[in-house]
């Protein structure tokens, strides 16, 4: 069977076509790289700085201030309790701890600028805590907690242990503070570190704000690229992995690790079951950032409006934001199905927790794969797959 002339002709044409395509691609690359360097902005019409302004002025800075004011109240409650360790001061302290922890959920994702520089989120919410090291730190009256191994010995998770971890009753714990002033000193120091770091960050934003808003391009060092990556990293690691996936055993071959939930001691020793509330706040915080919703309820330019803009300009592009919002609703519904006590939930019926993981994972895919592709933003971190 010899090749007919026609076939030969088609083969040649195909070959020439490939060469032509290749040159076209090379030319395109050359043309693009010349005038844009790292910039790969495909939609110059959309003003990215409008998102940055809304995020900075109506979300990030106000949310930091909200957190700071709760933290200040927590500090007062700590002062009161360490001066007079009694039941009513304990209750007050517990309540302020929870309020601050809830507000924290709205800022953990902003690991940018000063916060990133001082490893802010590691110092405030690393869990599980290191019980042994905290006890050693208390006994040795250690004040300098800057070593990275001390991240698991401080912050709001550290306060959880200090308030709820030394016994199964209020009286038992209050007695510790009465018997040994090192406990109160350590607790005071944890608050001193948190309030000082938070004040530094707010101070920094007063000048950083303009830098942040003006960096409106699309390179790996542009504000929206960094913030969006931080947001997705937080959603994947801080929310999905830490609050749900690790405790339910997703990364340990199905072996459950309920002791790794957020705010473990408050649930474990039956003070108050708060892990679910904290996870719900974190989910709301994430959705709010996506839709550009501020703490007073108004909405502005956001990742959502950006996606909507792209779709309205080119309907061949996926209409992604309704899908994401629907998936946020599903994740919220899944969380609602859970027992207030995550330890019990994991021990008795982990399938509901795994269902929550699945719903959160769907959003990770929406944000990290679909959204970043539409926005032409590169992922700047290695997968947080926890193994």
């Amino acid at each position: 069977m010899g090749l007919s002339l026609t076939v030969f002709y088609f083969r040649i044409m195909k070959y020439l076509k490939s060469i032509f395509c290749f040159f076209l691609i090379v030319l395109t690359i050359l043309a693009c790289s010349k005038d844009s360097e790292d910039e790969i902005d495909q939609v110059p019409q959309f003003d990215r700085s409008s998102i940055l302004e809304n995020y900075a002025d109506n979300i990030i800075i106000p949310r930091y201030n909200d957190f700071k004011s709760e933290l200040d109240k927590l500090k007062i409650a700590v002062d009161d309790f360490t001066q007079s360790p009694n039941t009513s001061n304990f209750d007050q302290l517990h309540e302020k701890w929870l309020s601050a922890y809830k507000k924290w959920q709205y800022v953990e994702m902003f690991n940018i600028a000063k916060a990133e520089e001082i490893m802010y989120f590691n110092t405030i919410n690393t869990y599980p805590v290191d019980e042994i090291r905290i006890k050693e730190n208390i006994n040795s009256q250690k004040n300098d907690l800057s070593n990275s191994n001390d991240w698991s010995c401080q912050g709001l998770s550290g306060v959880d242990y200090m308030l709820h971890g030394f016994g199964i009753s209020k009286d038992e714990i209050i007695q510790k503070y009465k018997d040994d002033s090192n406990y109160g000193d350590y607790l005071e120091n944890l608050l001193a570190i948190m309030t000082s770091n938070t004040a530094d960050i707010i101070q920094d934003w007063s000048t950083y704000r303009n830098t942040f808003v003006q960096s409106s391009g699309n390179s790996n060092t542009s504000s929206l690229n960094i913030l969006t990556n931080d947001f997705i990293y937080y959603f994947e690691k801080g929310l999905r992995t830490n609050k749900v996936a690790i405790p339910v055993g997703y990364f340990s071959g199905g072996n459950i690790l309920p002791e790794k939930i957020e705010a473990y001691y408050s649930s474990k020793n039956s003070f108050e079951e708060v892990s679910k509330d904290l996870a719900k706040e974190a989910l709301i915080a994430s959705e709010n950032l996506f839709v550009g919703k501020s703490s007073n309820g108004s909405t502005g330019a956001s990742l959502k409006t950006y996606l909507d803009y792209l779709h309205s300009n080119d309907v061949s592009k996926e209409n992604l934001s309704p899908i994401i919002i629907n998936n946020f609703q599903k994740a919220n519904d899944a969380l609602d199905q859970l027992n207030e006590n995550f330890i019990d939930q994991i021990n008795t019926d982990k399938s509901k927790m795994l269902n929550t993981f699945d719903k959160l994972q769907a959003i990770v895919v929406n944000l990290k794969t679909d959204m970043l592709s539409l926005l032409s933003i590169q992922v700047d971190y290695i997968d947080a797959d926890g193994d």
């Binding site: 069977m1 076939v7 490893m119 590691n122 690393t126 290191d130 042994i132 090291r133 050693e136 070593n147 990275s148 191994n149 991240w151 698991s152 340990s252 071959g253 199905g254 072996n255 690790l257 290695i382 947080a384 193994d387």
Partner: protein, 385 residues
């Protein structure tokens, strides 16, 4: 063109048929046709002949040992009890089953080395005696303790090894791959004693519903798929769950990224080989065994490369704990290389070659990127990946 191809195909089939018919008529024995089922299920008189519960037990035991090596609440004796005696597990169904992990570590009938078993014992001892007492101390070069960076916290020995990783990744080769490629898929198991004749003549194993040879093959299958909740589902081949902390987990990862489709190749070979056993066709069986040996060995090769490279990337990003974690996984997968099988009954790397690599990466605080890079190159070229 299309018509010619079709005609050609018919002609080809015709020739093959003639050859087959002429061959069959020459043979004395009656060979049954190999019937490959759509899923991994084989029946005798309507009852399943597939069983690998012992493998599931051992894999779950490894999961618990992994957790214990992540905790500071176990003594050396308790860890040894789990590893060696198959007792002391939180999950009571894992205790007193007569199954244990150590007895199946570096214990293939075709290879096996007590010196390698001892390496696992030493890791347990090092963990219990040096890492646990320093659980919350700061680790540094030559000092066991805790190491934290922006991504994770780990507990390491004086050389920076995170022992839960070195141990379990070592067992992926040392137990999982080894038991499959150097034990249950080997003639020294499948054909041992009267097993070949028994299988050919349909003589069952005691009061069981399977022949010994069928069961040995299923035990190999179990070391890979033993923690699948439903190993009979039709899409097991294309989408392994990755359940558990051992081979299946990395088998899935390799199938998801390094070499999509590898899982289907291995699965189909398991099915076809098992069907060949039912049909009494041992040539086809052994050909399938070879496919499994080569491909499961490649899983180890891929992951060794990934984690050695991962270490260098993570050090580059300034995350020492994350990097040491990756290198610990890499160390375990390098250990596992000696348990591979290239289809010609040789490991891709011998024990002495592996020990030489381990020596070069022994101290994580001083390991040279140039050494790791050259190992990566060697592994890639040996496996052709």
């Amino acid at each position: 063109m299309k018509n010619y191809t079709t005609l050609y195909n018919y002609f080809f089939i015709l020739i093959i048929s003639f050859v087959t018919i002429s061959c069959s008529s020459n043979e004395e024995e009656i060979t049954t046709e190999i019937i490959i089922p759509s899923n991994y299920e084989f029946l005798r008189d309507g009852v399943s002949t597939v069983s690998f519960s012992g493998q599931t037990t051992r894999l779950k035991q490894v999961d618990e040992i992994y957790l214990a090596l992540n905790s500071n609440s176990y003594t050396e004796a308790q860890l040894d009890e789990m590893f060696t005696d198959g007792a002391g597990f939180t999950d009571a169904t894992l205790n007193g089953t007569g199954k244990n992990v150590r007895g199946k570590t570096s214990a293939g009938c075709a290879a096996g080395s007590s010196a390698t078993q001892a390496q696992f014992d030493e890791q347990i001892a090092d963990f219990a005696n040096n890492v646990v007492p320093a659980w919350s101390n700061d680790a540094s070069a030559g000092v066991a303790g805790k190491l934290t960076d922006a991504t994770r916290s780990i507990h390491v020995n004086a050389k920076g090894h995170e022992i839960d990783q070195t141990f379990v990744k070592g067992l992926i080769g040392g137990m999982g791959v080894d038991q499959i490629v150097n034990n249950y898929l080997q003639p020294c198991q499948l054909d041992s004693g009267s097993r070949t004749d028994d299988n050919t003549n349909g003589i069952l194993s005691g009061d069981k519903n399977y022949t010994d040879m069928e069961h040995k093959w299923d035990e190999a299958f179990g070391y890979l798929y033993g923690q699948e909740e439903d190993a009979k589902r039709a899409d097991l081949g294309s989408s392994p769950t990755g359940n558990g902390t051992t081979l299946n987990k990395y088998f899935k990862k390799v199938n998801d990224s390094n070499q999509p489709g590898i899982a289907e190749i291995v699965y189909n070979a398991f099915k076809k080989g098992r069907a060949a056993i039912v049909a009494g066709d041992y040539t086809v069986r052994d050909a399938q065994a070879n496919i499994i040996k080569i491909n499961l060995s490649k899983v180890v090769g891929y992951k060794a490369v990934d984690y050695l490279n991962g270490y260098m990337d993570k050090m580059g990003a300034g995350n020492t704990a994350d990097a040491f974690h990756a290198l610990s996984e890499g160390y375990g997968f390098v250990m596992s290389l000696q348990f591979t099988n290239d289809g010609n009954e040789s490991p891709y790397f011998s024990k002495s070659e592996v020990d030489a690599m381990l020596a070069k990466m022994d101290d994580f605080w001083t390991v040279q990127d140039s050494d790791l890079t050259s190992m990566v190159g060697d592994i890639k070229s040996k496996f052709g990946i």
